[in-house]
């Protein structure tokens, strides 16, 4: 697998002093799903916006297929967006309420230079693929349910045959019985088209289900990256362990963390997790530990994890 999108050393501090993203590096390979999981304020959505080119990082670089996104001009960004699409959390607000869903998707096709005659049939084929009928294509967003709207958003995102779709809490607003349908649809579409997903969510069970690899974020940083199976079976960072144990209904021994997420505007010194960490030591107040390999394709940022000698 080759890297499709590579982010290196991303930093973003907002005007109010909130350091939303700090030294984040991520790779999304062609055709894979990278999950990004974390609690509110961990910087996962800000990271998504930077990767989409919607927000400029203060420092760091994002390359898509070898080309730097922050360095692109408007024309280049426009061309990029055909290949890099988004499915947002709330389709009620992301679809134009005054356009039928067919028009919404046609709009996207027109913006990316698809000929008029070709648009109509393509929209119907796309809607059919996501399980909506031709009659539903003439409906307005308020006439459709949340699950149907999210299908429209997916059809719109896929209309330009992108290489990567950023799904930002794309199934979080859906009822569980409907969420399963949408997750299945995403998996099928990936299988058919080879599209890669960056799947941002606070729901670990969903992320584990859909992702090949998962990055766990805390206070603007990636604290652990591993394959979904490995993260679930052998988490190394104490925050990941606590997050897994806090996910209800898993039957794991619960580690109840004390306190709450510190303000990203005023993070603790050293490792940002140390104020809530059950195994924190004095040394943790020094510096935020670097992400180091703990096993092949598995890295964690904690002073307690060791790089095995064999992997160097």
């Amino acid at each position: 697998m080759s890297a499709l999108l590579e982010a290196t050393g991303l930093n973003k501090t907002f005007g109010n002093g909130v350091r939303a993203v700090a030294d984040v590096s991520l790779t999304v390979n062609r055709g894979e799903t990278l999950g990004v999981v974390g609690e509110s304020g961990c910087g996962k959505s800000t990271t998504g916006k930077i990767l989409l080119g919607l927000l400029a990082p203060d420092s760091g670089d994002v390359t898509f297929d070898g080309e730097s996104i922050p360095a692109m001009n408007r024309t280049q960004l426009r061309a990029l967006r055909a290949r890099l699409q988004v499915v947002p959390q709330n389709p009620q607000t992301s679809l134009n309420p005054r356009l039928t869903v067919r028009s919404s998707i046609e709009f996207n096709l027109r913006a990316h230079g698809v000929a008029r005659a070709e648009r109509g049939p393509r929209v119907l084929a796309l809607l059919d693929r996501v399980g909506l009928t031709a009659a539903q294509s003439e409906r307005f967003p308020h006439e459709l349910s949340g699950g149907q709207l999210q299908r429209v958003a997916i059809a719109r995102a896929l209309s330009t045959s992108p290489d990567l779709v950023v799904c930002d809490e794309a199934v979080s607003a859906l009822d569980k019985s409907v969420q399963a349908q949408v997750l299945n649809l995403l998996a099928d579409l990936q299988h058919e088209t080879g599209v890669a997903f960056l799947f941002i969510s606070h729901d670990l069970a969903v992320v584990e289900h859909i992702s090949d690899r998962v990055a766990v974020m805390y206070l603007g940083r990636v604290v652990e990256v591993a394959s979904a199976e490995r993260l679930w079976d052998a988490p190394q960072h104490p925050y990941t362990t606590a997050l897994l144990s806090a996910t209800p209904g898993q039957g794991r021994e619960r580690i109840v963390l004390h306190g709450e997420l510190p303000s990203p505007a005023d993070p603790p010194s050293g490792c940002g997790f140390r104020t809530r960490c059950p195994v924190a030591e004095d040394v943790c107040a020094g510096e935020w530990p670097a992400l180091i390999p703990v096993a092949p394709a598995h890295a964690a940022a904690c002073v307690h994890v060791k790089t095995p000698a064999t992997t160097g």
Binding site: K176, S177, H209, P248, Q250, V256, E260
Partner: protein
């Protein structure tokens, strides 16, 4: 089991109909259950299932906008039809609510301490301000707030979401209610904070023997909390029984479908077994069994007759003729 009339909370054939000038919409359509002392009852369901409306109807929070039917008794005393002043002394006293959104539940212009003092004074738990203030700080400490003095002097916006929910819980338990209604108390919170709040509710319940009615859409929360569970769909209970049994061996096709649709980490991946379609919107519940249009086991008769909730196993009931004939020899 015989349901004694002195149960802290007994709900019988509760119906809630929202009425406006142009139409009326049935949201809760005949819900019955009994909550015993120290017991927990979960109402589990998806959006529009009527779970929150059931909980709020018990406290009669909808006023004139909803018409309630059936019966709700606390220790044998009928609540439906009570006067406004009777209800006011009841709410916050014998029965208290922990709402989903703590921010909306607190007065943004008054300090946390003052809001607690008011409840204690109104319900006559503490008759003087200084005593109430001391009690308020004790309560804040009891719900795990590290510096109760400072929090008592804070305005809601100065606290984090988790701290605000703790403050709301302190208010809810301040008058030692016999019934605590928690309406999705952790839905607005992050999972690590959710774990803390759920633990706190269990702890308070064990300490005081309060009966807890909890509303949730989260199967995981229901599983962890234990107690009894009532699964709601389209304004009705479709299945009821001990949580471990209902979630371990669901009898109703909707419960089974809902559980199968959840991603189960650590288990082989692949397709989730989703339920076709979506939950029906309020006001457009299908005739017959409301789940029939989505049900893989539906028979022609299911689209016409709405099955009642009947016993299908000891201590368990379900509203489905298919399970009744396949597993429920005991069915009445």
């Amino acid at each position: 089991m015989s349901t004694s009339s002195v149960a802290p909370l007994q709900v019988t054939s509760l119906t809630t109909t929202f009425v406006s000038r142009h139409r009326s919409v049935d949201v809760v359509r005949g819900v019955s259950f009994t909550l015993r002392r120290g017991e927990t009852m979960m109402l589990l369901g998806e959006s529009g299932s009527g779970k929150s409306v059931t909980a709020r109807s018990i406290m009669q929070l909808y006023g004139a906008s909803a018409k309630l039917g059936g019966s709700v008794t606390m220790n044998g005393m009928e609540l439906l039809g009570m006067s406004g002043s009777e209800l006011r002394s009841l709410r916050g006293g014998q029965v208290a609510l922990i709402p989903q959104d703590p921010t909306g539940a607190l007065d943004p212009l008054r300090r946390i301490g003052a809001q607690l003092v008011e409840v204690l004074n109104v319900h006559g738990v503490e008759t003087t301000k200084p005593a109430a203030r001391r009690r308020a700080e004790e309560l804040l400490a009891m719900v795990g707030i590290p510096d109760p003095k400072r929090v008592a002097d804070s305005y809601p916006h100065q606290l984090s979401g988790g701290m605000r929910q703790r403050a709301v819980i302190a208010i809810a338990v301040s008058c030692d209610p016999q019934v605590l209604i928690a309406d999705e108390p952790t839905t607005a919170l992050d999972v690590t904070v959710q774990a803390q709040i759920l633990e706190l509710i269990v702890e308070l319940q064990q300490r005081s023997g309060t009966a807890v009615l909890m509303v949730t859409h989260d199967v995981g929360v229901a599983r962890d909390f234990g107690g009894r569970i009532g699964v709601m769909y389209a304004g009705k209970l479709v299945e009821e029984g001990p949580a471990a049994q209902v979630l371990g061996d669901p009898k109703h096709p909707y419960t089974a479908g809902l559980l199968a649709a959840l991603p189960t980490p650590g288990v082989e991946r692949g397709h989730l077994r989703s339920i076709v379609g979506a939950p029906p919107p309020v006001g457009a519940f299908p005739a017959g069994c409301a789940f029939a249009p989505r049900c893989p086991q539906a028979r022609p008769s299911c689209h016409e007759q709405d099955p009642p909730l009947v016993d299908v196993a000891p201590d368990r009931s379900a509203a489905c003729p298919v399970v009744n004939t396949t597993v429920g020899e005991r069915a009445a």
